[in-house]
Symmetry: C2
């Protein structure tokens, strides 16, 4: 049985049904949708202690605790969520949901389109970050929440937190933006394009309707994940962990020898393709590429953030080359220009972009101290 | 007609045949082989002005000039090779060949195995950097050369130049190592592994015997090139060149809109897969991964370079994150520790690893000044 000290323990996700049609920002309309949600802690009487966790590209609603007592691993952010942890469930009510278009229980490409009786597949409409935020607000209202004590996210989740602070400033008391950026660079987009190309080049892709063919673009999805995973790690971190070690030091014939880092990446790719949906991967990467918080403000980030009212915690990670510290500093500078309260730290770490998911002591202490002011 | 001022003009490659069996460092034996070669300038009477150009992963023998007067583009390093250029053909005799295992005319996976009458394909033996150097020496001897005034290469070509200085110190008077490294990092290897996986995941791969199936793993090879090409460029360079510009600014629907950088990468991938051989790509990347100049010296780079006798020019490029300046500095430090003559410069450029192929003024001036001492 899993050790549940400091843990939220065994949790059960639940589903929220929304039966009204939802018009997305791109103009497409979903006839209705479901969101799968987990909550940790108790909502207080005046609903002033609710905290929203926004997940990144491959995340989901299962952020903390265990679904079964003998689960091998807890939720993806269990290091930071639980009693006594930075996101302290002994006094905060934490809401975590799988975004629309996801593949872990919320309505997405794997879901059946009620109008055709077949899975949406490639026909699932493109969703933007602003759509996720609007849908998260619908979920909050359903849960009796009318204001977040904090909205928190890393990477693509940090973009959602930022979007929340812009779109619904009265809703967001505190905003935590980890390892994020105001938009993607050309290099970021290029890596995403390679990942998408890997998926759509797979003969089992079937123009996105692989489910109807009882197929799955496993190899393409694995390749896409290998590209992504590699860019989440730093060169230093990879050298420290793997160096040039061979899987089998006795076999150094270049034709057959595998370096440990090769074996590691292959494993990560294989694991991912067995759990994730290829259409969701495309949808999420396109949402990332097209996110641009300053769009509609003539590219002026300071102007884009002028209407925000939250207090902000912005954290970057020194070796993150996917969303470099300089990108976080752009956000910080724009917030300061608007007179917002901002705490910023660049955490010294060789973990790359993945740093925000890890339990790095300095990061944890800072995050914990700052969060102690939330709904205090 | 192409402008040939400062150019070596129209050149004709020729083929050297080697009929003796060649045992490779891995133990495989080739019954014989051919090398395709170009030379520019004239060998002087005492053969003291010969310079060898070593090509990188996707390069070949056609380094300068034109094959036909109306060729749209000259050889891959025409900016640096020609009368009055840094590698000055008015006084140097330049030798450039396609390496063994290549796909541009030297014996490689596309060649017919005389023992089977079929293309070697996947059965072509793995070649190491030290094999290339040994074969280049055979070519030199055939051309009447017994010592190089200079051996010059960038990237994988720089590794060959370094290997030359270690394996045949009496042969190398000057050695030019551009944008190279003493070995690959885990991150380097990981990117190569992704590229290989893209190729071998293509259904047209046929375990490497695609020629026999009249097929070609175009999509996998294009993907592999996209990964490689992207890592040769810097994030800053990509942002400066493409930013977040859309191919068609009128169409910003994330489901269909293409960013310019996506279109560029796709084009590069497509061009490459129509000219390059997939087995050669695998062979070249494996040679890169397994190159380790300090292997056999307990990983001690200083010890590995103790026997060198050349004067060295080492150049790195500030935004090269594939072979970072720090890797060049490792080579420089080890050469200095051995009392070698070394000139080192880190060229300020946003061109990334590709910098060594470009005509960057400071780089060109330095290279030209240093080369004026060669065979002077």
């Amino acid at each position: 049985m899993a050790d549940t000290s400091g843990s939220v323990g065994v949790v059960a996700p639940f589903v929220l049904e929304f039966n009204d049609p939802l018009e997305l920002s791109g103009g497409d309309v979903l006839p209705g949708f479901e969101l799968i949600v987990e909550t940790y802690g108790e909502l207080n009487d005046n609903a002033s202690n609710a905290v929203l966790i926004c997940h990144a590209l491959s995340g989901n609603h299962h952020a903390a605790g265990y679904h079964q007592p003998d689960d091998r691993k807890p939720g993806w952010w269990d290091s930071m969520i639980g009693p006594g942890k930075p996101i302290d469930t002994s006094r905060l009510y934490v809401v975590s949901l799988n975004n629309l278009g996801g593949c872990d229980g919320s309505t997405g490409p794997r879901s059946v389109n009620p109008e055709t009786g077949k899975p949406y597949g490639a026909s699932f409409p493109q969703v933007r970050v602003s759509d996720w935020v609007r849908v998260q607000k619908l979920a909050a209202e359903r849960l009796g929440i009318s204001r977040w004590a904090a909205v928190i996210g890393g990477s693509l989740g940090g973009m959602q937190a930022l979007q929340w602070s812009v779109d619904y400033p009265d809703w967001v008391e505190h905003c935590v933006i980890l390892a994020a950026a105001p938009d993607l660079t050309a290099q970021n987009i290029a890596f995403n394009e390679i990942a998408r190309n890997a998926i759509t080049s797979d003969p089992d892709w079937h123009d996105g309707d692989y489910l109807e063919q009882s197929a799955n673009p496993d190899r393409g999805l694995a390749l896409a994940r290998m590209v992504g995973h590699l860019t989440y790690m730093s060169a230093e971190g990879l050298s420290d962990r793997f160096g040039r070690s061979l899987l089998d030091p006795e076999n150094d014939n270049p034709e057959h020898a595998l370096f440990q880092v090769e074996s590691y990446l292959r494993y990560q790719g294989g694991q991912f393709s067995s759990r994730f949906d290829a259409n969701t991967y495309l949808l999420m990467t396109r949402a990332l590429d097209h996110f641009d918080i300053a769009h509609g403000f003539d590219g002026d980030l300071s102007l884009a953030l002028a209407g925000t009212r939250a207090a902000f915690l912005v954290i970057s990670f020194s070796s993150d080359w996917r969303f470099s510290p300089a990108r976080s500093e752009e956000i910080v500078d724009a917030l300061i220009a608007n007179g917002r309260s901002v705490t910023y730290a660049n955490i010294d770490s060789n973990a790359g972009h993945d740093g925000f998911l890890l339990d790095i002591p300095h990061y944890r202490r800072l995050f914990s101290a700052w969060m102690s002011r939330v709904a205090a």
